[in-house]
Symmetry: C2
Subunit: 281 residues, 2 copies
Amino acid sequence: MRVIRSVKTMQRLVAKARRAGKRVGFVPTMGALHEGHASLLRRCRRENDIVVLSIFVNPKQFGLKEDFAKYPRRERDDKKLAKREKVDIIFVPSVKEMYPEGYLTYIEVEKITKVLCGKSRPGHFRGVTTVVGKLLNIVMPDALYLGQKDAQQAAVLAWMVRDLNFPVSVRICSTVRETGGLAMSSRNEYLTADQRREAAVLYRSLKEARQSVIAGNHSVAATIGKMRSRIRRESSGRIDYIECVAADTLAPLKRIQGKIIIALAVWFGKTRLIDNIIVRA
Amino acid sequence: MRVIRSVKTMQRLVAKARRAGKRVGFVPTMGALHEGHASLLRRCRRENDIVVLSIFVNPKQFGLKEDFAKYPRRERDDKKLAKREKVDIIFVPSVKEMYPEGYLTYIEVEKITKVLCGKSRPGHFRGVTTVVGKLLNIVMPDALYLGQKDAQQAAVLAWMVRDLNFPVSVRICSTVRETGGLAMSSRNEYLTADQRREAAVLYRSLKEARQSVIAGNHSVAATIGKMRSRIRRESSGRIDYIECVAADTLAPLKRIQGKIIIALAVWFGKTRLIDNIIVRA
């Protein structure tokens, strides 16, 4: 397993591999790896000759009052997990390597970045699309692996890849959950034991909503209303949003129809958790 | 010489060529090819195994009141010139192929796009960087050839390539001029015979400015002042801007120092012409 910190070296390495006819798979992360990441790496390993993992806590996707400084960083543990999952190359650039002095260029996806998390985190998705655009040019992968847990991020990046014609196929992988149902996230470790127990209500409320849609209830207001009461009743979580949107365009829905995503963001103390479920109605 | 209209076909073709170890050079244009383009194609031919020329009048880089509709289009003549210059592949996509329904993604370079032409053409460079970013992902060239005539465009694109880590080297080629000195441009054909004769004053004023800088005059105000008077005295041109900026960052200068660009934009009737000269002081 090689650890690469320079853009140029990474590009040279991958260009060589591609000329040799190797298929390159890529899992971009911010580190603090957990079983969710591991599941992306496993699928990437199965489907490619070379597995590249990037670890970069991207300052441009954090708001001024967000948790950039305290976001967990533990390169040593991450390397162990990467080795276990048979990663070939870890790309770990510094902030200066990614954003050298005089940096001026941004990739922005309009409209679908202004809903859901985009409302409470202005500028967040511009940071995400910019860094992933850069990483695609650096790693030049055949396939890009993203987690469904960050549903809007996955949709926005798929849109960017399509619009800008990046020669890569996007693979979205199911959310991995803790035993209680809480979606795996590097931010879960901010939670107290009580909050962690309480936060399991998020997935319960999503499953209940899905059941109710499958049973024939197609009202967005009623679905969201029920989720709201349940979360309030069973936890101390403060709801940022709960929404039903079209799965591909993230357009808000009046009635539940077609392939949709029910998505939510809820604060537990100072920690903002997100989760979602896909429903076909 | 192959003419390709589909993104997918273009990507497949180039991926194959690159796997075979071929070096790909790329000249992006809006067609209406002239000797300026021919000089880019010749250098591209000398330095690469495969020469790709794109012809695409990009609606996103024209303002609402600009000349998108009347911009000259003549695919047949362009193909003749391309054949003469031994182009291997012409990529000629439709607007719908480049911007399919629901298109949402833009690449933007900040700051250096707000000066010079960026001031009079808001949104113009966002259109340029977006389309060239797409074309780089579609053509995947080793080298990109741009004309120095569009000095700001070349600087902005070089900045984008650097910032977003596109794996391509940018080659900027000297301006080609008509006998009188007027810089070659597809827009020159909008000019009447009188305007064309008058417009030669632009290059005369740039050369005079360079002479004066070389002779030791490092005052920006005096340099621009002299150019202004000359253009007013010797033509009917209406000056949009004349500026002295740093060659790499396009930062406006108080005193002429280092490698600089003297750049201008002047209207002749309804036609806006640009030109520039590089000076080392």
